[in-house]
């Protein structure tokens, strides 16, 4: 029997599922090797029998948590898809403020009391709720990496996700390093796997694939100085995906990577 795969979305823009839907012809090959039993983006049918669950989006409400636990109990392998799911992604920006303030700001005076759809807590990544077996990082995901993970799982092998930083891929692409152009780039500390797509196209890495290590503060300060960059520049690089790492409110909370990171 072919491996059965189901896709689920939580709080996200569905951009990552769209990346998959956009595989076009290759999607036909994909359904040759696995049975897609649920995929809201491309089909109406749905089944509760599946081996692999692919989760997109962050977890924002108790009702999401409940649904996610149910999915976990039904599948053998659970894959987190896209930054929203793997790290919390841009949904975590709002964690800088207390939830109540956020709700107030967004819904103003609307009557949402006791409505569980609006009962939000601080944004969580999938692995903050249940164990995750494999991660497909990125905002949005890289299609080649998605294919690698799916073919690996279909062949019964562990997918290999890079543990080295974006600079490795950036250097292989022979880009002019953005630091030399006066831009702060998170490439040296961000997980590779996107083929350094941002620096290759001239924009600094925002760290959407997750931070691998946290260099020590002194070192970052020296780099800022060496390249004539400001602390503001660094901060602006970190507001999108990594507010939890470089907290703009409290100043820098960088710490030396730990051995087990």
């Amino acid at each position: 029997m072919k491996t059965r795969v189901a896709f689920f979305d939580f709080s996200s823009c569905e951009g990552c599922q769209l990346q998959i839907a956009n595989l076009e012809e290759e999607i036909l090959d994909l359904i040759e090797i696995v049975d897609v039993v649920s995929f809201r983006e491309v089909m109406k049918e749905h089944s509760n029998e599946y081996d692999i669950a692919v989760i997109e989006g962050s977890i924002m409400r108790p009702m999401d948590e409940h649904r996610l636990r149910k999915i976990r109990s039904r599948c053998k392998i659970l894959v987190a898809l896209g930054a929203c799911a793997t790290t919390g992604g841009i949904n975590k920006i709002r964690n800088q403020w207390p939830v109540e303030n956020v709700i107030k700001e967004v819904y103003k005076d609307a009557d949402i009391k006791d409505n569980e759809f609006f009962n939000a807590f601080q944004t969580k990544a999938v692995n903050e709720v249940i164990p995750v077996d494999y991660y497909i990082h990125g905002c949005p995901i890289n299609r080649d990496e998605f294919k690698h993970v799916i073919t690996s799982l279909a062949l019964g092998k562990k997918p290999v996700i890079p543990t080295y930083p974006v600079c490795v891929e950036c250097k292989k692409n022979e880009n002019v390093c953005l630091f030399e152009l006066g831009k702060y780039c998170l490439g040296p500390i961000t997980r590779a796997g996107c083929n350094a797509i941002c620096p290759t196209n001239g924009s600094p890495c925002d760290g959407c694939r997750g931070i691998l290590s946290k260099p020590d503060v002194e070192c970052v300060m020296e780099i800022l100085q060496r390249y004539d960059l400001t602390y503001e520049e660094l901060k602006s690089r970190c507001t999108l995906y990594n507010t939890n790492v470089f907290n703009p409110k409290d100043g820098m909370t960088l710490v030396r990577r730990s051995k087990n990171d």
């Binding site: 595989l23 290759e26 090959d29 994909l30 040759e32 090797i33 294919k147 690698h148 799916i150 073919t151 279909a154 062949l155 019964g156 092998k157 562990k158 290999v160 543990t163 080295y164 930083p165 600079c167 490795v168 250097k171 292989k172 692409n173 022979e174 880009n175 002019v176 390093c177 630091f179 030399e180 152009l181 490439g187 040296p188 500390i189 691998l212 290590s213 260099p215 020590d216 002194e218 070192c219 020296e222 780099i223 060496r226 390249y227 030396r256 990577r257 051995k259």
Partner: protein, 648 residues
């Protein structure tokens, strides 16, 4: 430099040089690349017109190594359904590279030493053979370069043509017959006069004076400075700032380590084996299946890079594996990667006479056997599940020839679409066409092997590595200690020495085997058969028994077996001890052997490290300056006992 007199030198005007380059571009046989701008920097790239060429550049982002060992390279394509439809990938069409600086030419000559040794890298060789190098003497010195201190700012070899800018014209030094032909065919030129030759020498002397960055230690001295300062706090201190970004290794012309992975198409029908640049600063460089990481600490990884460049490779090949291009200094954001700075920091510290202490010579020269990347086709003949974690395989090469291994050697087992794993040969040498392996399930390749059946196809590369020198053990007592799956390679040696024909060549044989628990002990029946042979003593112990185990033998660690052995001085001098087991076992067992009075030179061990290529190229298996895949896995203890990374 005086040699340039003996070389033919021509003179070409700037305009005629452009015509020459344009002629080369038009001549479609070759792919013409040269130095051009990329934003504020320079790179080697395809030339469409001579006007793009920037011979006045300082340094390119990446060195020309990218044309010989591309960042991503397909080693072979295969089909998963018919595993043995492998297609060796084509190498690029003939290429001309214009504008290579002398230090990069020297770096290529160094790479040749590694990639064109007795186990030639075919892809690299083909590219080297079909590439024409047109060098250029440096016109603008890069701020970070210290090439003059490394004496790599000029070169007398390694090019087909070398251009030198003489103000209003170029001198062309002819370096090869190929270069000469090219010039004659496509360029208008005149012969150089005595004055021109003098001028070239002046230009070259003048280049040396333009380097601001200078070494305080001659490059010949790096090896001895490093040998004396292995434990210097500088490594730990400087590495504190390292972000582990790997940039210093990616941009370096003399860093050529690589990783290999299999990619498959989404329909699971076809795939390719891809090699891609890897680097020793990255943590997973030494990660093995059990999760262990050798050189785990960033300080150690940071140090390794400098030792490889300044001590390990110099001791092995006789050259410092840094050409002073300064690229790493430019690429490293916290500015800690530049060897010139590091060596200068160490300049006022001690030197050591014993520069070769991190390196040993290779014992068995592995014969060249066709191509080094493409495995031979083989078929699984028989499988047997030995324990929960281990499975036995009898494998036959499809050419029906014997593997031709000696005990202690290993093979790379290849499963297309999954990858390769180094596995010891577990059977003794024999004239039969099949051999045996035993595999413990830990990761991708090994798990896939568990699902394979007789008749299934595999790829085999090998035999590889240095095995046991069984001849030198003759007329000696043998004390063999195996821990855990160490019995797998040990079995090959045991089968050899207890063989009817060989048994009489050796004196008493003692086999000690320690397993974790009874259910994990391998080859118990064979073990009992060995015990029955004349003058072969066997002891088996398990670390512990869990309830329900039916076990009447010894319990306790393998080290509890040694006190039972009595050797007089004569015997210990004449005993060869062989130890194979998990990393933790060596220290304890070797202590027991020393207590028995067995000298270090009589002790042999087999070590495990992460491996990829198995042929001394990819760099993963290094213990200091030693390649486990070439000089090992079998080592004489005396040779490696002082290598700091051997028994960490």
């Amino acid at each position: 430099m005086t040699q340039s007199h003996s070389k033919i030198v021509k003179i070409i005007t700037k305009k005629d040089l452009d015509t020459f380059v344009n002629n080369l571009i038009k001549n479609e046989k070759h792919n013409v690349v040269g130095v051009k701008t990329k934003g504020i920097k320079f790179v080697f790239g395809p030339l469409e017109n001579a006007s793009e060429l920037r011979l006045d550049y300082d340094v390119t982002i990446l060195p020309p190594k990218k044309y010989f060992l591309p960042p991503y390279e397909t080693l072979m394509d295969f089909s998963l359904n018919k595993p043995f439809n492998v297609k060796e990938s084509d190498v690029a069409k003939p290429r001309i590279i214009i504008g290579v600086h002398p230090y990069d030419i020297i770096a290529l000559e160094q790479t040749d030493k590694v990639y064109l040794d007795s186990q030639k890298d075919d892809f690299y060789k083909k590219r080297r053979d079909n590439t024409i190098i047109i060098g250029v003497d440096i016109q603008k010195v890069s701020e970070n370069s210290f090439a003059a201190s490394m004496k790599t700012h000029v070169t007398e070899s390694g090019f087909d043509l070398m251009l030198t800018y003489l103000g209003d014209k170029y001198a062309v030094t002819i370096g090869s017959e190929k270069g000469k032909k090219l010039l004659e065919k496509y360029a208008k030129m005149i012969s150089a006069t005595e004055v021109d030759i003098k001028k070239i020498e002046e230009v070259r002397k003048n280049i040396a004076l333009q380097f601001k960055k200078k070494l305080k230690v001659d490059k010949e001295e790096w090896s001895s400075v490093l040998a004396a300062n292995y434990d210097h706090p500088i490594w730990e201190k400087r590495s504190q700032k390292c972000m582990e970004c790997g940039s210093c290794t990616m941009v370096c012309p003399t860093c050529f380590c690589y990783d290999v992975k299999d990619e498959v198409s989404i329909d699971l029908k076809e795939g390719s084996r891809i090699r891609t640049w890897d680097g020793c600063l990255l943590r997973d460089f030494t990660l093995i299946g059990s999760g262990e990481v050798f050189r785990d600490d960033i300080g150690k990884r940071y140090r390794h890079r400098f030792y490889r460049k300044g001590n390990y490779l110099p001791e092995r090949y006789g050259f410092v594996a840094c050409v002073g291009c300064g690229r790493c200094g430019i690429a490293c954001l916290p500015d800690i990667a530049d060897p010139c700075d590091v060596i200068n920091d160490l300049s006022h510290f001690e030197r050591s006479e014993n520069t070769g202490k991190f390196f040993i010579k290779q014992k068995t020269e592995v014969a060249e056997k066709g191509t080094i990347h493409i495995p031979q086709s083989a078929t699984i003949k028989r499988t047997e599940r030995l324990t929960e974690m281990e499975m036995f395989f009898e494998i036959e090469l499809d050419d029906k020839k014997p593997l031709g291994h000696i005990p202690g050697q290993f093979v790379e087992v290849s499963i297309f679409g999954v990858g390769e794993a180094p596995i010891s040969v577990s059977s003794g040498p024999s004239s039969s066409s099949s051999f045996e392996i035993v595999v413990r399930r830990v990761g991708n390749v090994t798990s896939r092997l568990f699902r394979m059946k007789p008749g299934d196809k595999l790829g085999i590369r090998g035999p590889l590595g240095n095995g046991f020198d069984v001849k030198s053990f003759e007329k000696k007592h043998l004390l063999l200690s195996a821990g855990g799956i160490g019995i797998i390679p040990m079995r090959s040696l045991i089968q050899y020495v207890v063989d009817d024909e060989n048994r009489k060549k050796y004196k008493d044989i003692t086999i000690l085997y320690g397993a974790k628990q009874p259910s994990e002990a391998l080859f118990i029946e064979e073990f009992e058969d060995w015990c029955k042979i004349d003058d072969v003593k066997c002891e088996l112990t398990v670390d512990q028994c869990v309830e329900g185990d039916c076990w009447t033998g010894c319990t306790g660690l393998i080290t509890t077996l040694y006190p039972k052995i009595k050797l007089d001085r004569y015997d210990s001098e004449n005993t060869v001890a062989i130890v194979i087991g998990p990393p933790i076992m060596y220290r304890y067992v070797i202590k027991c052997l020393e207590t028995l009075g067995i000298p270090a030179k009589n002790i042999f061990v087999s070590l495990e490290r992460r491996m990829k290529c198995g042929v001394g190229k990819c760099g993963h298996c290094q213990i200091n300056g030693v390649y486990v895949c070439k000089e090992g896995p079998v080592f004489n203890y005396n040779d490696i006992k002082d290598l700091p990374e051997a028994f960490e």
